[in-house]
Symmetry: C2
Subunit: 349 residues, 2 copies
């Protein structure tokens, strides 16, 4: 049995009449009704790997395993030469999330960290939405990723894919809401974030994508194809977004490498965490820019070529946030996360 | 045709088996599906009525009529001898709300107000929820109140009333979520709010009630009964909540008098805007405290006595908020709104 929310459609869907996808895709469904989904990203921003704060952070993360329905450990090259070690926790139960924030060692350490004396940076970005503002796609149902690692979730085959506008159509809310940002994106140059604890309020309908790549089972030709072809196309696309933030609506982009939580060895699994001013701007890039078309066509062609033997898996999950101030930065560099494009900057006291 | 959201029930309902309400009641339904409901309270806090800032505020309010689906003008006795003049705007379209915030004279005046030089206080409290965190009750369907003044809403008879726990049962989300606050309510004594622009982030599952009284059509015996009996019972109840904030979970309580928007004359219409740490604490007071039982029994008895000729109408609308930082105070006195019980205080820069 599965539960999903649908609205009687008021706005037209984007699916072309009679559309048949070129490649099979799957999407996440929940076994039980849920009113709020939460992805909780909590990170330490280090001057370098192996900074003494890394071990402290890892110990806090290990001691905070009770509560989240799924956790991951990720590493990213941070801004201004920093390294970010990220604890990602998923919850389908918002009360369990609040209890974890209130009681667990990692979030309580973050809340008590003194920004004035901290020797490293730290940040906490909480994405929480009603399921009507959430959509997913997976190229292969045999593996679990992101929210799909929570118990009580399944991957179902779908046909709402393979056309531009399909991601929008997969948001239940898109049937009744244009998911449209109001106002412009302005880059701040006045962010004095060192030694301070700052909050950012995102603007209404900020879109956040976690787009994943998994090639652990890949061998031989497929491994070469991923590492030499698809990965470089992906990085070219990401470079374009980072270099043209205002044109593309990009607010923040991080390339995350999944770590084995025991050995801390990097896995053959990456994901891009991107914040966009609006879903429309993310769609515009996906529909029209050659850097995305290169990624998209490569993925479709690879699936057609290798079929079920395809051993590189791509997927994403996207949320469209209502206004939220759940982005907090302690002693971070000024270009961290949403700080450079903060519509509203808030000093926590 | 009407639309509502329901979830397959996971948590038990509170309705006793075979329950039949003693008095008929109505609840709000929406004609069309909606993903976010918004009540936008924007106020000026004056040292006294007829302060020169009052006229400026009223002119801004009159110039901001385009956008909201319903507006009201309200006055309240504010804290520390102030007077609060409040513009209340309702929206069932969140994009229309964002456009209004971005373009309309009143909210843009508020956003640009310089806290350091302002001669009056001002505040802005925005309540925005998915309809699954919203419930209403009306003693009479012949009048419209609150969200019920938006086009595309209707009052429907119901039987989810007349027992303790009925309000909770009316929240669609209560079928799957205990709507439970985590953590304690702590009174701050360190709020230095004069000359500053501060934001408050509410804690998860803060409950906000607007509970209304309307006796414009009341004459003779019913008018006397309202003004001499029910009103004093109501005020006794409100005094109890204000005097015992921590015991009752009361974060803020304002008694609002509705004004005729043209003449500014007070109407025979009041409402109480109350913020509570949790729905459970509001329920506890309603179920067990003699000050609420006196109000409740009086209303039931009056309806039984006068039947359809009953000319005093009572109603309420309640929302349970996920965490939200949409509470902003400019140069207000420190006991305004959520400031004294702010879990997190944020300085806007």
């Amino acid at each position: 049995m599965s539960w999903s929310i649908t609205y009687p459609r008021v706005l037209p869907e984007r699916r072309p009449p009679g559309h048949e996808p070129r490649a099979p895709r799957w999407t996440l469904v929940l076994d039980a009704p849920t009113s709020l989904l939460t992805a909780d990203y909590l990170a330490v921003q280090l001057p370098r790997r192996d900074d003494p704060a890394e071990e402290e952070f890892l110990a806090l993360a290990r001691a905070s395993a009770d509560g989240p329905e799924s956790t991951e450990l990720l590493v990213a090259t941070g801004p201004e030469g920093t390294v970010e070690l990220i604890h990602l926790a998923y919850f389908t139960d918002p009360t369990a999330h609040e209890r974890w924030l209130h009681d667990a060692p990692l979030p309580t350490w973050f809340d008590r960290l003194d920004a004035a004396t901290a020797t490293v940076g730290a940040w906490h970005e909480v994405l929480q939405v009603h399921p009507d503002r959430f959509e997913t796609i997976y190229s292969d149902p045999r593996w679990t990723f992101g929210f799909g690692r929570c118990a009580g979730t399944e991957r179902e085959p779908m046909t709402t894919n393979g056309y531009f506008g399909a991601a929008r159509d997969r948001f239940p809310a898109s049937a009744i809401d244009p998911l449209e940002a109001v106002g412009k994106q302005v880059r701040r140059t006045d962010v004095d974030s060192h030694g301070r604890r700052l909050r950012v309020e995102s603007s209404h309908d900020t879109a956040v994508i976690r787009s994943g790549q998994f090639w652990e089972p890949a061998e031989g030709e497929q491994l070469v194809d991923y590492e030499h072809n698809l990965q470089s196309k992906l990085l070219t696309g990401m470079d374009h977004l980072r270099e043209h933030p205002s044109d593309t609506g990009t607010l923040s982009l991080r390339i995350l490498t999944s770590l084995d939580p025991a050995s801390l060895a990097p896995r053959r699994e990456t994901s891009v965490l991107g914040y966009f001013h609006s879903l429309g701007e993310l769609e515009e890039w996906a529909a029209s820019h050659h850097t995305h078309l290169a990624i998209y066509e490569h993925a479709i062609e690879a699936k057609r070529h290798w079929g079920d033997a395809r051993s590189v898996v791509t997927w994403h999950e996207v949320v469209v946030l209502p206004r939220s101030a759940r982005f907090e930065y302690v002693n971070c560099v000024p270009t961290t996360g949403l700080l450079p494009f903060a519509p509203t900057l808030l000093t926590v006291s």
